[in-house]
């Protein structure tokens, strides 16, 4: 750690990991409800577990991004953070707001929660991923703006590198597109149309800038490859991402009442979206192969390479699988979507956050890398979680293909619930793969507590 103020990243990383554990517990609850329908009913209905699962995911990834920015920006700009104190205050505000929101989901009926939190003033709740009560949404905006102020002020007084500029651009984009969550027209088609300005333009737009910047930062550090080379790659990747991804939004506009030309625009541009993810994989392997030093943190290198590969598989391959309009006509809103959503989120955003944590956490704890023993355990957790996620995806894909066949392609289509019964075996297997994922996650936690001979103190 080169700058004192980088230390504020630590609580962000710890909170991220803690909430990740919560997310997975609720994932397992839902996975069981898929096959044992009355499990925990009426205490935790499926929709409540789902809100907790997905909102915890978003919140912990945001914690991860913020922590990453607090760690990265001082080092890139070669100056202390504008206000470490503000960063710490925001940490607590965000954590308390997040915890209260989750408790609200769990213990207050949703309609009551809506009424109590001003949804009658401005109705924004009850839409997928944007379920948060109005005060939480406003809180997110306030925290995001104060965070961006802090980071932007730091940038202004220091060195401006491509990596930090791209990161900042991504973070500003994240905040700006979130503003569409306040727009909820009565017209369902318009509601859905602009809802994707948050969801799609996040994960297939501005978040990709954050992803690429974080990956580039860690690759510079662990490979020692020339900054000029890495930053050129960075620009090429994000160019590809936005050129394909912005109009690629059209792959969500096929069947929601938008004009039918979106079937062409969406299919063509989103079919190209895998290219930047492929470039990221090539980039990561290329840089590691051309490395100028052997960084003692092997685990961080593994996570960085894994991010490239898994993001390409989850977003690129599984995205392409169902993105062409004639295919999507059959797969839209099935388990195929869930399969892709899981591997893409894991491969791209979960893994990049773990990459930066893996790289930065030992440094924040005063060593270049963890002990051999701790790293071996961390690498075990990498393989357990990653392989489990591959199997979750494969089982959901199998369930999805059968679902499409039985319910949508067949001349004598089955009803939704009958078709679900037919594929229950795959849901059971998904749940078992989920248990392995959870074991992997616990292994990851354990790796933080393993002692042993630490690698030399870092500069």
């Amino acid at each position: 750690m080169q700058y004192k103020s980088q230390a504020v990243a630590m609580p962000y990383f710890i909170a991220a990991i803690g909430l990740f554990v919560g997310q997975i517990i609720f994932g397992l609850i839902m996975g069981l409800q898929y096959v044992v329908g009355d499990f925990l009913f009426p205490e935790i209905p499926f929709n409540v577990a789902r809100m907790v699962h997905t909102n915890l995911l978003i919140v912990w990834l945001l914690f991860g991004f913020m922590g990453a920015a607090y760690y990265l920006v001082p080092e890139e700009t070669e100056t202390e953070l504008y206000s470490p104190k503000l960063a710490l205050i925001l940490f607590w505000v965000f954590l308390v707001a997040g915890a209260l929101t989750v408790l609200g989901y769990l213990f207050v009926p949703y309609a009551t929660l809506a009424q109590a939190t001003g949804n009658d003033l401005l109705a924004t709740m009850g839409r997928e991923f944007l379920e948060q009560p109005l005060p939480t949404k406003l809180g997110i905006v306030v925290v995001a703006l104060a965070f961006l102020f802090n980071i932007s002020m730091t940038m202004l007084k220091g060195r401006k590198t491509a990596i930090s500029m791209v990161l900042l651009l991504g973070l500003w984009g994240l905040a700006i597109f979130f503003l569409f969550s306040f727009y909820n027209p009565h017209n369902l088609v318009k509601d859905k149309f602009y809802w994707w300005f948050v969801v799609h333009l996040w994960v297939e737009g501005v978040w990709e800038l954050i992803l690429a910047a974080l990956l580039a930062f860690v690759l510079i550090k662990v490979t020692g490859v020339d900054r000029e080379v890495i930053e050129k790659w960075l620009y090429v990747i994000i160019t590809l991402a936005l050129v394909t991804g912005i109009i690629g939004t059209g792959h969500h506009y096929y069947w929601i009442g938008a004009p039918e030309y979106w079937q062409w625009w969406g299919s063509i541009f989103s079919a190209l979206e895998p290219i930047p993810f492929f470039a990221m994989t090539v980039f990561a392997f290329n840089m590691v192969n051309r490395r100028r030093r052997e960084h003692p943190n092997k685990a961080a290198v593994l996570w960085a390479l894994g991010t490239g590969v898994m993001a390409f598989l989850g977003a690129g391959v599984w995205g392409f699988l169902h993105t062409l309009a004639p295919v999507n006509f059959y797969t839209h809103g099935t388990q195929i979507t869930a399969a892709h959503g899981h591997m893409a989120f894991y491969g791209a955003y979960v893994m990049v956050v773990i990459t930066i944590i893996s790289y930065a956490m030992p440094l924040l704890r005063g060593r270049a890398a963890n002990s051999e023993k701790a790293q071996v355990l961390e690498m075990w957790s990498f393989w357990l979680m990653t392989i489990a996620m591959v199997f979750i995806t494969l089982f959901l894909t199998a369930a999805g293909i059968l679902q499409v066949w039985l319910q949508r392609v067949s001349d004598t289509p089955m009803s939704f619930m009958t078709a679900q019964d037919q594929v229950a075996l795959f849901y059971w297997m998904r749940e078992w793969a989920g248990v392995v994922f959870f074991i992997g996650l616990l292994t990851y936690l354990a790796s933080f507590f393993v002692k042993g001979e630490a690698k030399a103190v870092a500069s």
Binding site: G37, D38, M51, Y110, V189, T249, W255, G333, P413, F416
Partner: protein, 141 residues
């Protein structure tokens, strides 16, 4: 990727490309807004439908169901439940939940009044009349 292709060139292509495709996207969005009135069934956005949408949202139906294929995949698609089941079935269904059938997926009872049920049904009817380019493939959703 070395030699003549410099970092500055890569950066300029990034900014230029992004601005160009973002503007193209905005143009398409603008055109979409002009076309929507012919497709989105806005002429039927009555006070009942608007109230029904709010009930839909504040009960978080989307946390189990999909609507026009978006949402959760735990329970049936409801974008076409109106033609599939009809208004009376939907109201009776809402009132008879949960089924309590052992091991079967459960839906809560939301204790909606008759008026609220009518609004909800109006919303589901309106949704089913949006021009979705013939999606879903069949009535099962």
């Amino acid at each position: 990727m070395s030699g003549i292709f410099s970092k500055a060139m890569a950066r300029n292509i990034f900014y230029g490309g992004t601005v160009f495709f973002f503007l193209l996207f905005l143009a398409l969005v603008y055109d979409t807004e002009r076309e929507l009135p012919t497709r989105d069934n806005r002429q039927n956005l009555s006070a009942e439908v608007i109230a029904g949408k709010k009930i839909w949202e504040t009960r978080n139906c989307i946390g189990c169901h999909s609507l026009l294929g978006e949402g959760a995949y735990f329970a049936p698609e409801l974008g076409n439940v109106y033609p599939r089941r009809g208004p009376e079935f939907i109201k009776a269904w809402m009132q008879s939940q949960p089924t309590g059938a052992p091991g079967r997926r459960q839906m809560p009872n939301f204790h909606l009044s008759d008026e609220e049920l009518d609004n909800l049904v109006a919303f589901l009817k309106y949704s089913s009349e949006i021009n979705t380019a013939n999606w879903p493939p069949n009535i099962e959703g």
